[in-house]
Each structure stands twice: as C-alpha cells, then as structure tokens.
C-alpha cells in the first residue's frame, strides 16, 4: 500500500520487510559480521568502533580476596597469595586462572571514592559523579552507548542484564533520555516482548506494522514537531531487528563445550551471552554477579564467589582474545566499593570506599599495568590515589571518547566527565 507521497520510503520498507521474512529461515548477519559461534570476525570488527562490557559485582567485592591481598597482616585474612604473569605482582590464591592472564589485565589498586552506602555509592561509581539534586546524570554505560552506537543498527546500543535479586539497579539514562536507555534483561536472559503474541503470525505482524508506519508518515505530513514521529517510527523499526535477534539470546546455539567452559551458572550464561552480543555489534553490555556484601563470613562467601568469578572472567577474556575481540572491547569490573581492612566480630568485612581496587582489560589499555598502591594493611592509598570521576574519565578515554566533550542540557553545557577528573594515563595504551 502506498499513499502516494513517498514511494522511496515505501519501497525501502518493503525491502526491509522482505529481508526480515527471509531472515527467518536463513542465517542472519548484522553488517558484515557472521554471528555463528565458530567463526571469529576480527578483521571487520577491528575497523568498527569500540565496545564496552561492564561486569558489576553487586554489594562490593573484597579487594583483599582479589586484587590487593595483604598476606600475613592482621587485616589480610586466611588466604595465601599466588604469583601472576607479572613479576612481583601477587593476587589472592582464589584467582589462579586470572593470575596467569595478568598480561592482559590492568588493575587500579588506589581508588578512594569516599561513599560507602550502597545506593549512593552505586550512583557515584556508575555515573562517575556525585549526585546533584537538579541534574539527573546518565550512567557511564549510557553515555558510552550514545557515543559508540552504530548508525542504522537493528540492535540496541546497550543491553543490561540483571537477574540476581541483590542490588538490582536499572541504569539511568538521565538527561540523555529514553532513546539511550538500555534494553533491560531482568526477568530472564531473553528480552521481554520479542516473541510474537499468541495467535499472531509473522506475516500479520509485519503487515500491521507496515500499515502503522504508513498511517504515521501520512499523519506527520506538514505537522509542526514531526521529527518526533520520525523518532517514534524508528523505535518501531528496532522491533523487527530485536525480534530477529532473538536467536542471539539463545544459548542453545552455542556448542556444548563452550557452554560448559563458561559454566552453566547465571553469571557464566550472562558472560557467554555478553560475548555473543558484543560480537554481533551491540556496543555496550552490562552483566552482574551479586551477593558480595559480606558483613558476615566474608571468607566463606569469597571462597565461593571468587573462584566462579575467576573461572568465568578468565574464560570470557580468553574467548574474546581468541576471536580477536579483546583489542576492541573494553572490559571493566566494578563494584560500589571495596571492603574494610578490619575484620568484624562476625568474621565479615564491612563497606569500605577509602582504598579499594578495580580491574579492567582490553581496548585502550596497557595490559599488565598495576596502578597505585595501598599501605601494608590496606587501610589507605599511598600512591596514585584516584576517585570515581577519575575512573570515569579513564573509562571514556580507553573507549576512545573524549572525556572533555560537552552535552548541552537546557542552557547548561555539561562535560562528559566531571570538570576536575584526571585521566589515569599510566594504564592507557
């Protein structure tokens, strides 16, 4: 059906529709990237923009039981340390696999972020700014999604998983608006509303969308503010892409051996899905692993959590590297804060933001760099002190985005990273 005002548009829509129907039966591609699991596509990816994967350890993981152990000290806890691929740098013995991969990993041990309450700290770390009553800042991931978005991509710019119950947070799009808000995967690792409703066929679904778009285009003619209709229509154009991409979320399409390597845990499955999405061209993905808030029995819980983290992250980094994706993908492991040097009477560690660590890998980074130091007991930062804004600016820089760029919010130019943020150049490639 053509209302006679825009044959090109209509033709294009038909081609699109045709393609989508054909897509049901054939293997799909996005851009030039094959998405079959076995075939890495490093060459074309390298040319394309960078991607970012956030690994959020909800609740606050302990730096002592991971990246900044203090063996033999009163604050050190029961675990030993092991040597890593970087001479002289030791990590907690619970991370044997990551230890061997340290040449690909970058650690900051000198974060002092000040806030040790979950919600506020999570806001601070994920936006890289102290909260401001009047301006709703977007999360770093949302900023990256906006900046790294591929034009005309049928896929979302940001997909955020969060299926654990603890500390579930929805990334805030803030002043960047709904268009850049992530697609949330909260209830399952497949997106909501991507399958046909009961009784509807693919053809009907496509045909009614065609009618909807034509009615909308016709309505918009000569209307003041019709650019909003364009935005509305382009949101609907994503629908078919997302429905077509449904198979991306289907882990059964991965070889069993790969699924076993990642592990059939929620975190392992999220990580494997993240790789599939990054590979297919989603620029920003966030996965999460919960239950790190160890006020009681810190060592028991870390004995359980860290090996799973070690397993999954090492497999993920190895997989990304094998596929030639690691050099274009920035991987960042974040928490709200670290945990106290003092071990409390419940054999737990409490919230601690004064001296803690994060790990990163991949794009834009100097692999093997270990930045900053804490004192012998891990109570204060003694070298390379960095705050949440510095971390955010460093993330932007590593992702290839200027931290000094501005967004115009109403009348106010708002810099991407906080004005006084310092990029940690020492860890950048």
């Amino acid at each position: 059906m053509n209302w006679g005002h825009s044959p090109e548009h209509s033709l294009h829509r038909r081609a699109f529709l045709h393609g989508s129907l054909a897509g049901l039966t054939t293997a799909l591609s996005f851009g030039n990237i094959g998405i079959s699991a076995a075939k890495p596509a490093a060459q074309s990816l390298r040319k394309r923009g960078r991607r970012v994967l956030f690994v959020w350890l909800a609740g606050g993981s302990s730096q002592f039981e991971t990246w900044d152990p203090k063996p033999g000290r009163e604050t050190g806890g029961p675990f030993r340390t092991i040597a890593t691929a970087i001479p002289g740098y030791h990590v907690c013995e619970l991370m044997p696999k990551l230890a061997t991969m340290m040449r690909d990993i970058t650690v900051i041990r000198s974060l002092n972020t000040g806030i040790s309450e979950h919600e506020q700290a999570a806001d601070l770390i994920s936006t890289g700014r102290p909260k401001e009553a009047a301006l709703d800042y977007p999360e770093i991931g949302v900023v990256l999604a906006k900046e790294l978005a591929a034009k005309e991509s049928p896929l979302p710019d940001y997909i955020s998983f969060f299926t654990t119950t603890e500390g579930r947070r929805r990334p805030r799009a803030g002043f960047l608006g709904a268009k850049h808000a992530p697609l949330l995967l909260e209830k399952s690792i497949r997106p909501e509303h991507v399958t046909l409703a009961d009784g509807l066929t693919e053809t009907r679904h496509a045909e009614r969308e065609e009618l909807r778009a034509l009615l909308s285009d016709r309505f918009a003619e000569n209307r003041a503010g019709s650019e909003m209709v364009n935005g509305y229509n382009s949101a609907f154009q994503k629908v078919r892409g997302l429905m077509r991409a449904d198979h991306l979320f289907d882990l059964n399409r991965e070889p069993a051996a790969i699924r076993d390597r990642y592990g059939r845990t929620p975190f392992g499955e999220q990580a494997l899905l993240a790789r599939r999405l990054l590979e297919a061209g989603v620029p920003v993905v966030k996965v999460a692993k919960g239950f790190w808030d160890s006020h009681h029995d810190n060592f028991e819980s870390h004995r359980e959590l860290v090996p799973d983290f070690d397993q999954v992250l090492s497999v993920l980094l190895g997989d990304l590297k094998d596929r030639g994706l690691l050099e274009s993908t920035l991987v960042i492991v974040l928490s709200e804060f670290g945990r106290t040097p003092v071990i409390n009477p419940d054999v737990g560690r409490d919230h601690f933001a004064d001296a803690w660590s994060v790990a990163m890998a991949g794009a834009g980074l100097r692999g093997g760099a270990v930045y900053g130091k804490t004192d012998a007991d891990g109570k204060t930062v003694t070298e390379g002190r960095a705050n949440a804004s510095d971390l955010a600016a460093t993330i932007y820089k590593a992702a290839g985005i200027d931290p000094r760029g501005d967004y115009q919010v109403g009348l106010r130019p708002v810099p991407r990273a906080k004005e006084d943020a310092k990029v940690i150049k020492e860890i950048l490639a």
Partner: protein
C-alpha cells in the same frame, strides 16, 4: 449567570491576608465596569417613569459601590491573545489558523481530563460551543481527578505518584483552593484534618536532606535551579550567588522529621565557608535578595517556613510566574521561559510581556487555578492548528503554531483502555477508579513525557508484542475489535474504527485506501479488525497530542 447570582458571588468575600487586591474587590470593580453602561443606557432610552426611576436608583447603588473602590479600574483579566498578537505582529509572523473541531476537542480533553474523547463525545462536540465545553469540563469531576496528577508532577517532581498527596490535591481543586493556599498548606500545614494531612508529603520526602529540600522548593515553587550555587556562585547566571543558595537554605534548615511528621527545630543555621575560608551564617534571604530579619519573627511562636511563605507572597514575582510558566509548559510543550526551572535574568521569556502580565493577573484572581487554565485553553494561541505549510517553521518560543506533544504515560494508558474497551466509558467516578486499576500494568511500559522526548524500543516492543496490549485488543465480546468484527459493511467498520480511535470522522481518501487494505488482508474478520485497530492505536496520530 443571573444578575442576582452575580451580585451574590461578587459580594461574598474570601478571606485572604496577603493579596494587595482582594478578589471580591476585583470582582466588584469588574461588575461596576459592566453594569454601569447598561443602567445609563436604560436611563436615557427608557420612556416610562417607573423604569427611569428604577434605573436612577440602580445607578445610585452602583455609584456607592464605586466610591468605595480606591484601586484603579481593572484591566481585562488573564488575556493571552492581546499580548500574543502584538508579539506576532512585531516578529512579523503570521500564526497558523485555528485547528478544526475534532482535533481541538481531542487536544482539550487530553489536557484537561487526561484521555481522548469517546466516539460519542466526539460526535456531539460543536466547535461553536467550545467556550461552554471548557466551562463544563472545568466544573466536572474528571478535571479534578486528572489535573491533580498534573499538579502533583509540578510539585513533587521525581517523587510524584503518591496516592495520598494526589488525593489532597484533588480535594484542593474540588474546594477551589488557590495555588497560594496549596503552597501554604504544603509548606506549613496545618496537617490536621484527614483532607489536609497528606499535604505534608512534599516536605516528608525531603526533610532529611537540606540540599534536596532547598533545591526542590526553589524548583517546584519558584522555577529556579540554584543547585550550582551551593558550591560556588553560579557560573552562568549572575543572579544566583552562594548567598542565595544558603539564603534559601536558611528558611528550611530547621525543618526536620519524616514519616508523616514534620516539625521545626528551635535552632539551627545555614552555614557556609566564605571566600576567606571563614564560616558564615547565612541570613534568610529570598531569591530576590530580600532578607527576612530574624527579629521580625516572634521567638518560638513561628517557624522559618512561615517566613518563606510570607516573603514568597510579598515578592510575588517568582511564585506567580513560576506556576504560570509551568502550566504554559504543560499546555504548549514548552514554557514561556524554557527550561521551566531556569527563570533568571539571563534567560528571559520568549514573549516577555505576556508572562509578566498573566502572572500579575493570576495573583489578582487569587491564584485561581481553574481561571488560569480556562484563560490558556480559551486563547487563540492554544487553539492554533498543528499544521504548518507556510515555509520555514517559526521558532517554538513564538507559539505561532501548535506543536506535536507526546502523550504522558498516564494520558496514553488511559486513552488506550478507553478506546479499546466496550465503549461505555462516561467519566463517572466509578469509571475513573476502574480506569486507574486498568492502567497500572501499562504505565511503566510506556515512555515518560519529557520536553526532549525520544521514543524507546522498549515501548515499541511492548506495544507490538506485550501481553497486556494483546489482552486489550482481544478480551471481551463488546470491546472495540469485537464490535468491529460484528460489523458487516467494511466502510461502516472503518468509519467506526477511525471515529473511536482518532475521535474524528474518516476522510474519503483514507477510507478508500483502508478498504483495499482490508480486502487484501485475507485473514479472519476478527484478525483483520485486530490488525487494523492495532495499527491505528500504535500510530503516531494516537501517540501524540496535536
């Protein structure tokens, strides 16, 4: 309105303490202005002696009234068009023509009652009865029910949606409380009766954080964002110094409590480190730099919020302008000052004289919310068409053409339920309560209305494939799809569908095209109607206000 009614209303004073010109005084003057010529007319023209005598007596009565009035004769209250037309002339802009009846009616209903018209309402509306329709809507229960949620968003911002607070606002609108009374009750109470108690909800949400409280009071009631001035003099706005931030905080620093109980501490000061590094105690200073001396307050008998309310009324400019601008933003998709929380000398109104004039008149009417709403929606500016074919579109700040506005989550959800339902919705309280229940599932799936609106794939996915949407389309043997499927004639079917969903008659050309679309569909009649109706409700014509 009969003359007796008018006299009755005119002479019924409302108790008010802070207005320079009290409303009954104002009404009296207006009455004099309009009755006197009639009396003189009949005095001159009447031939019978008793009639002349009566007219003479009437003139005498009116003169006594007039002698008592010492204020100047009033101007036309709340006139939008005069200023606007002058502005267009000066800017050499020819505004668009006035919108057609169905489009205007839909716009009006969405704005005043938060939903689209039913097919029945759309059928009976007559453009020449627009003024009467506005009056009816403003007097009806649906306006109070819905418009309270609009006020809730203005006051509560991100904390909007508390049932008790919305309930308070509904009652306030029902009782005809002015914006000034609402402000006073929100800031000071008394939070004594069941009706007034929920008004504490604004302070309650913010009392534990002085910065949030200070910033939100300034934003919600005075249209300014002074948050930058907390740490330094505002870099872009010379109006806002740290003195203003801490001056405003000084009014609120003694406010304490939460969980429904707000009290005033006996002491406490807003302090900040000056440039010399020394700590300074901030005086209570309003945004206009007007200071309230502490000794002006009787010790222990009053609280600092009382001083804030008083000074806000005395320095009326911010209080009145801010609300007028917020409502303007609501009705036009952009404030006269834009953004709405940036009212300062560096960011003047796009039609400056208009905002000042309406704001003054709004204060004179006793901050009567209905009158302000009525003045806005009755104006030619509001009634302008959404189409622009005359070359380059004038900047939005000229308001020379109606712009598309996205429906809010609430407007969209309620409209979907109404048009897809069984067609019996009549705006009765029972239907309104039921509507709230039916929309709870839809609301969070839809995109919120913002000035910089962008549609998300999330909403599009929900509308395309969501189970709640499917249910709305397919459930019930009297819902829209079922009624259409039972219609034998395709043309009748299409006419009903368009009338119900778009609240307008179908055009001949679209009937023709849609008819051939139906013929090509090939599915069962029920499925065909489902697909047609989905396309209509998911189209831009339904998603936006125009």
């Amino acid at each position: 309105m009969s003359l007796m009614e008018m006299l009755g209303r005119t002479l019924l004073p409302r108790v008010r303490s802070h207005n320079t010109l009290e409303p009954y005084e104002h009404r009296r003057q207006r009455l004099i202005g309009w009755v006197t010529p009639i009396i003189i007319h009949s005095l001159v023209l009447s031939r019978s002696t008793p009639m002349r005598l009566a007219s003479l007596l009437a003139l005498l009565f009116v003169t006594t009234l007039a002698v008592g009035a010492d204020a100047p004769m009033p101007r036309v209250v709340l006139d939008v068009d005069g200023q606007m037309e002058r502005h267009w002339r000066e800017a050499s802009i020819r505004p668009s023509s006035v919108a057609n009846g169905p489009e205007l009616f839909r716009r009006l209903l969405l704005d005043l009652t938060g939903r689209v018209p039913t097919a029945r309402e759309a059928d009976t509306f007559q453009l020449n009865q627009y003024a009467a329709t506005v009056r009816q809507l403003l007097a009806g229960p649906e306006f109070e029910w819905y418009f309270a949620t609009v006020l809730d968003e203005i006051i509560q911002g991100r904390h909007a949606g508390n049932d008790a607070f919305v309930g308070y606002l509904r009652k306030a609108l029902h009782d005809g409380k002015g914006w000034d009374i609402v402000f006073r009750e929100v800031m000071l109470g008394p939070w004594d009766t069941d009706a007034r108690k929920p008004a504490v909800g604004f302070l309650d949400k913010r009392a534990k954080d002085l910065d949030v409280l200070t910033v939100d009071v300034a934003r919600s009631f005075f249209g300014v964002d002074i948050s930058c001035a907390r740490c330094h003099d505002h870099p872009l706005v010379p109006d806002w110094k740290r003195d203003h931030y801490y001056g405003m905080a000084a009014f609120l620093v003694r406010t304490t409590g939460g969980k429904g109980s707000i009290t005033e501490k006996p002491d406490g000061e807003a302090k900040f480190a000056g440039k010399d590094g020394k700590e300074r105690v901030a005086p209570m200073m309003f945004l206009t730099s007007k200071v309230t001396e502490p000794e002006a307050q009787a010790k222990g008998k009053t609280n600092r919020r009382e001083a804030l309310v008083q000074i806000a009324f005395n320095e009326q400019k911010f209080f009145s302008r801010s609300f007028v601008n917020r409502l303007w933003d609501y009705f036009f998709g952009q404030g006269l000052v834009n953004p709405v929380d940036q009212m300062h000398t560096g960011n003047v109104a796009s039609v400056p004289a208009l905002l000042d004039r309406i704001a003054e008149d709004f204060a004179v009417t006793g901050y009567d919310i209905r009158k302000l709403v009525s003045a806005i929606v009755s104006s030619r500016t509001y009634r302008l068409d959404n189409h622009w074919t005359d070359g380059k579109l004038p900047a939005a700040g000229h308001f020379a053409v109606t712009r598309l506005r996205p429906l809010s989550q609430r407007q969209l959800a309620r409209s979907l339920v109404i048009v897809l339902g069984d067609g019996t919705f009549d705006g009765s309280p029972a239907h309104l309560t039921a509507l709230d229940k039916q929309t709870t599932e839809l609301l969070p799936a839809l995109d919120p209305r913002t000035n910089d609106f962008q549609s998300s794939a999330r909403e599009a996915l929900f509308v395309s494939n969501g189970e709640a949407m499917r249910k709305l389309l397919t459930t019930g043997d009297q819902n829209l799809v079922a009624r259409l499927a039972a219609t034998n004639d395709d043309r009748d079917l299409l006419k009903t569908a368009i009338r119900t969903v778009f609240a307008r008659p179908a055009t001949a050309s679209e009937l023709g095209k849609l008819e051939s679309w139906l013929k090509r569909h090939g599915g069962k009649r029920q499925e065909m109607c489902e697909d047609l109706v989905w396309s209509l409700v998911a189209s831009a014509e339904f998603r936006f206000n125009h």
